[in-house]
């Protein structure tokens, strides 16, 4: 049970009164006084969601490292022109499939393009696909989930049935249909992923709302005549926030993996731009001759997704009320 031996502060020691004699009794011992509560005796300061969020990293090194990794990824990819040593689409056939060297740390692809630079630029797509569709779908999901949960009745039925359909609908097919209709590319993946994921969010938010709706403070607000939408915004939304943040950290890595799968099927990022998924797919035949160019993007995905998952775990442990200790 006791995996760690924690060095905690020793128990508070008091100053017991001697059992014998009266010499120890100080002067003025019986003077009635009014003792203020000591400052430390105050209750722990109230932490709002964001404060809680930041306090995660104080005690959890893995979460902190994950966060740093993610921020590093974002900084490098956003500032790609600053960090990439070469132009990611400039070809130099003489360098085709060059092995890693000082000039090209991760080697070159078949067209002599620097793999490191391509990874840095490709990360933009992978990250964007991880972040934006997640945000969009979660926004849609939250709005619809709150509406369904709070209004109930026919609206609820309608929204939830549509959500059921969307959840059962194969995202692959959807991506394909969108890609055939508006052409493949970033927008396609964006639309497809946004459309698929909202249903899950809506479901969770709705059930959260249903349980919150019965809570005293909402009843109280209703009874004093606060408008419904005000209740939704002011009371229900902030209470759904922990759940939403947890979902966010779960969906982002999910989407990054989905993008790489879509690239595998040719619906992902479009050349000459690239994404990590596409890079793995396109370079798989060099596994024998130049393994770095196949392994590097795969490892990049793995590390990012692992980081997001660790972060998600830490956030969940902290924010999910069901998992909290004491």
């Amino acid at each position: 049970m006791f995996g760690k031996k924690k060095q905690a502060a020793p128990a508070v020691t008091t100053n017991p009164a001697p059992a014998e004699g009266t010499d120890w009794i100080p002067e003025g011992a019986l003077k009635p006084i009014y003792v203020e509560e000591s400052a430390e005796a105050e209750i722990a300061p109230y932490q709002n969601t964001w404060e809680k969020f930041w306090s995660i990293f104080k005690h959890n090194k893995v979460a902190l490292i994950s966060l740093i990794v993610i921020i590093l990824y974002i900084v490098i990819c956003v500032g790609a022109p600053l960090f990439a040593p070469y132009d990611p689409i400039e070809t130099n056939l003489a360098n085709g499939l060059a092995l890693p060297s000082k000039e090209h740390l991760l080697g070159c692809d078949k067209l002599g393009r620097d793999v490191l630079s391509r990874m840095i630029y490709g990360g933009r797509i992978s990250l964007m696909i991880g972040l934006f569709p997640t945000l969009v779908s979660m926004t849609i999901g939250t709005v619809l989930g709150i509406t369904a949960g709070f209004l109930g009745g026919k609206v609820d039925q309608l929204i939830m049935r549509i959500a059921d359909i969307c959840m059962a609908f194969p995202s692959l097919l959807l991506a394909m249909v969108v890609s055939y209709t508006i052409g493949p590319g970033f927008l396609t993946i964006f639309l497809a992923l946004s459309f698929v994921n909202w249903a899950g969010t809506a479901r969770v938010v709705r059930s959260e709302v249903l349980s919150l709706r019965e809570k005293e403070y909402v009843e109280a607000a209703t009874s004093i005549g606060v408008k419904r939408w005000v209740i939704m915004l002011r009371h229900i939304l902030p209470n759904c926030l922990p759940t939403l943040i947890v979902m966010l950290t779960n969906h982002i890595p999910g989407n990054i993996l989905t993008e790489s799968s879509l690239s595998f099927l040719g619906i992902g990022a479009q050349p000459p731009m690239t994404s990590w998924g596409l890079m793995v797919y396109q370079t798989k035949s060099y596994l024998d001759r130049n393994p770095t160019i196949t392994l590097a993007p795969g490892i990049a995905i793995l590390i990012l997704v692992v980081a997001f998952n660790f972060l998600g775990d830490a956030v969940r442990d902290k924010l999910d009320p069901r998992l909290q200790e004491q």
């Binding site: 890609s179 000459p272 798989k284 035949s285 001759r289 392994l295 692992v306």
Partner: protein
Amino acid sequence: MKKLLAILLALALVFSMAACSSGGGGGEQPAPADGGEGEGGETAAVVYEDGFPENVLRITYQAEPESADPACTTADYILMMNCMDTLVRTETNAAGENVTVPSVAESWSVSDDGLTYSFHLRDDVKFHNGEMLTSDDVLYTVDRMLQPERAGRNSGWMDMIKGGADMLDGKIDTLEGVGIIINGDYDLDIILDAPYAPFLACLSTPAWSLCNREAGDRADEAGGGPLTSLYGSDPEYFCGSGPFMLDEWVLNDHVFLKTNPDYWRGANSMEGILIRIIPDPQTEKMLFDAGQLDIFDLDHALDQIPVYRDDPAYANNLNVKTVLGTSYLSINENIEPFNDVRVRKAFQLAIDRQTLIDTQYYGAATPAGTFLAPGVPGYDPDLGAIPYDPEQAKALLAEAGYPDGFDMEIVQTTDASTSDIEVNDAIASYLEAVGIHVTIKQMDSASWYDLRGTGESPTYRTSWTADFNDPDNFLYEMYGGSGNKRRSWNYYNEDVIKRLTDARYIVDEDERTAEYVWLDNQITREDAAMNVLWHKQKIRVLQSRVKGFVPMWAGYGDSGYYETSLELGN
């Protein structure tokens, strides 16, 4: 802290995989180091994971073959080429010329007006169901294809027969007595609508694979009608007369062709052919290296070419065959500034064909100067390849009024292979160098075919391969008739187009060849109506136990394996 350790452990696992995979690679040439194991072609005792006997030729197919029925596919001919016969065959003779030789038709003659072809059939050709092949089966083969309710995909190879169009339109029920006259069990005449010089060559295509009437009727009935006939998909109903018999078809896994012991040309020495469905070329490579495959077609795995070429164990087992076809970039003359011949010429000159071939195809192609491929009548070897001359290209652009270049689009379909995508990227960077700014536009193939059909597709890159060995199959297909618009050329030289049509009816062979030499030069060089790139080679690597393999002369990826045999181990 300990979570960290866990991550490290996990990463260590992944990296050890990585290390393992790069094992031995290092700085030297990695390919031979890896390929060396298992003694390559020396075929140590291989345990076949597919469970078929040793004396079976193991090849692959990228996707499920569409059908064994000539009425059902225009792409996957492997089953027909191995299980069925045609009236005549094309063979490549010692001189490298493709000549038409007898097959089921023992002999034939053509009338002077070029309209009537009389055939005498062999009397020893037996279908797999035991029936003898007679002239009625030839009639059935044609009737079957032209039946309107069957929607025969290859009806285009037969509708030049008199009455063919009428039959497709449902006006007549059979060609018997109209376009085909049966003169006994083994003799028949085929009458054409108009003279058509390539007709004989056309008869050797898989589209003319001969079907059996009895089996055909049974298959139609079982499938619920001609459109959904089971002839080409169910071994139970399929019937051909070829060297192999369709024996087993396990969807998405394999097709097994069993040797036909009664084949009229003599039975093949192998027990059969196993066609495994392997969509992923990387998997294919692994299987080949493990000895699980006998023939590895590098067409879809170009990157493996140097691996095998540099591997002493396989270097002698490469089968290189120049494809009777040409890769090109299309030019839509309706799109400015491609209406200007100087721009088109600059477009041709801006691309370094040889370097692209060396780097992207590992030398497995020859730079092209004309649309007609070497070996096709009308090909002029003296013209040479189009040179790479970026300065001249810039000069031409300046002359045409585009000193700063211009913007253009190259369409690429979403199902393009990785190497196709890379070649397009490389081409784009060459064009960029002379000032032509390229945007690569991705489209899914259906939308693109639609767009191309309206004559409005921007430049695209594809290959044309010969169906039969005749220049008509190249030039007329592109610029004569509907192809000009349908393939988004919009080539305006009316004179040339007229001469293309007329050339179809020239009966004298030398005169005809000379005409095509002129036409090819005029279209591809003078008018620069097409940006020809290269003639690709098809490279296959064989296990050393494979003997006598003869690749198909034409542009098809598929081959017949009748000549192939296997050297069996101890």
